[in-house]
């Protein structure tokens, strides 16, 4: 999760403006995809590794970022192995891994609050007619809801296990949706209670 990933620090990568990092990431990812070359992917990987080192991050941080995407990467690798050859499989999978690690470098070195602030400032500069505050609030609420939904899911799962119900996705999904919607309603009220307009 984005807010869980942040590793506090005072490196040049940490201190760089979030908007600049976001723009660089966009350029980097686009370039890696457009320049469809294994050598470019290898150089990109080295560049990302350099970024991690400059940020004072350790290999375990990279691994933590990559781990959730491990199974999708394995599937991509196997699919390419069957449809093409081993070289292509390594290239395509490696490119995805580099992109994930590059995006993680941003989240590892930038607080969620700074990212949403940059988003707000960027949107305000684009046009005064864009409701930048509301969009930034919506993004923050998304970030806030991720741990909340995770906690609710865990609560429901435990409650069901305690009553002998195991591995029933539908039985898990219905109460999860109901409780999440109720939480959303109450949070909307809390926002209303703290708003003046």
């Amino acid at each position: 999760m984005l807010s869980d990933l942040h590793v506090p620090g005072n490196s040049p990568v940490h201190r760089a403006r979030p908007g600049v990092k976001l723009a660089l990431l966009a350029v980097f990812c686009t370039a890696v995809f457009i320049l469809d070359d294994p050598l470019v992917t290898a150089m990109s990987g080295a560049l990302v590794a350099l970024g991690y080192a400059a940020a004072g991050l350790r290999p375990r941080h990279a691994w933590t970022s990559l781990r959730p995407a491990l199974w999708p990467l394995v599937i991509v690798f196997l699919a390419q192995l069957v449809l093409a050859d081993a070289g292509t499989a390594m290239f395509v999978t490696g490119r995805f891994a580099v992109l994930i690690l590059a995006a993680s470098l941003l989240t590892l070195t930038t607080r969620a609050v700074d990212l949403t602030d940059s988003l707000r400032v960027g949107l305000e500069r684009l046009s005064p007619r864009i409701p930048a505050d509301r969009i930034a609030l919506a993004v923050s609420l998304c970030l806030r809801f991720i741990p909340l939904v995770r906690t609710v899911l865990e609560d429901i799962r435990r409650a069901q296990w305690s009553r002998g119900l195991e591995r029933r996705p539908l039985a898990l999904l219905v109460p999860l949706i109901v409780r999440t919607l109720r939480t959303a309603d109450e949070m909307a009220e809390a926002i209303e209670a703290r708003s003046v307009e």
Binding site: S3, D4, R111, A112, V113, T116, D133, L137, S140, L141, L143, R144, P147, L148, T151, T183, E186, M187, E189, A190, I191, E192, A193, R194, S195, V196, E197
Partner: protein, 224 residues
């Protein structure tokens, strides 16, 4: 002296009357509300902040019926802080209400720093809200209201999810506040030191007065 007044207030939802015939003035510093589940006490509390609009009658703050005045001057603390904290980061969450007040960034930062210092919570400023303990979350939810400097704070069962230690800590913070407080609670021991207690039953005020008498009457009526 700030006064919250209800004049012939009624609240009806989906054809069901939740509150009726409420006419009273609230001006004491510490007011408690007790009552059974479903008696209408939470709806009563929500009226005071304008979260609930009366179907009939008026809620006035110092004679002013303007709902924005209620919202501005009466803060509201919910039972579950998880549903009250809207931002993933403590500092950002505290800033939310101040942005709504359109205060400049420096003043927002000053207010937050001063408040966290007063509440001895400065160490939580950069924490992610979902990593806080239940007691810390409730204090941050309270801080989110206090930072807006309301005249009144209405709390709807704020200690229900807290253990004894955190309840005492939370109540100690409340005791030190200069704001007028209206607190709904099932914890009758928390009502003992208050100036006035209202017993809400069947959508109306069944009893109203100093804590000892009202609580004794409520306990007597709650015998199974």
């Amino acid at each position: 002296m700030s006064t919250l007044s209800l004049r012939n207030v009624e609240v009806e939802k989906d054809g069901i009357r939740i509150l009726s015939g409420l006419t009273l003035d609230l001006s004491e510093r510490r007011i408690g509300i007790v009552g059974r589940n479903g008696s209408g006490k939470s709806t009563f509390a929500r009226l005071l902040n304008g979260l609930e609009r009366p179907s009939a009658g008026q809620v006035l703050l110092d004679g002013d019926p303007e709902p924005r005045g209620l919202r501005r001057h009466v803060g509201f603390v919910f039972q579950n802080p998880d549903n009250q904290i809207v931002y993933p980061n403590v500092g950002e969450d505290l800033e939310f209400g101040l942005k709504n007040l359109r205060l400049p960034p420096e003043e927002r930062r000053d207010r937050i720093a001063t408040l966290l210092d007063t509440l001895q919570l400065s160490h939580l400023r950069d924490r992610l809200t979902h990593t806080l303990s239940g007691g810390e979350k409730q204090l941050i939810a309270l801080a989110g209201v206090l930072v807006m400097r309301p005249d009144w704070i209405v709390l709807d069962e704020p200690t229900t999810l807290l253990d004894l230690w955190n309840t005492r800590r939370f109540m100690r913070v409340l005791d030190g506040l200069e704001q007028r407080i209206v607190m709904v609670s099932h914890h009758l021991d928390l009502m003992q030191g208050l100036d006035r207690v209202l017993h809400i039953a069947d959508g109306t005020v069944a009893d109203d007065g100093p804590p000892a008498g009202v609580i004794a009457g409520y306990v007597a009526r709650s015998e199974c």
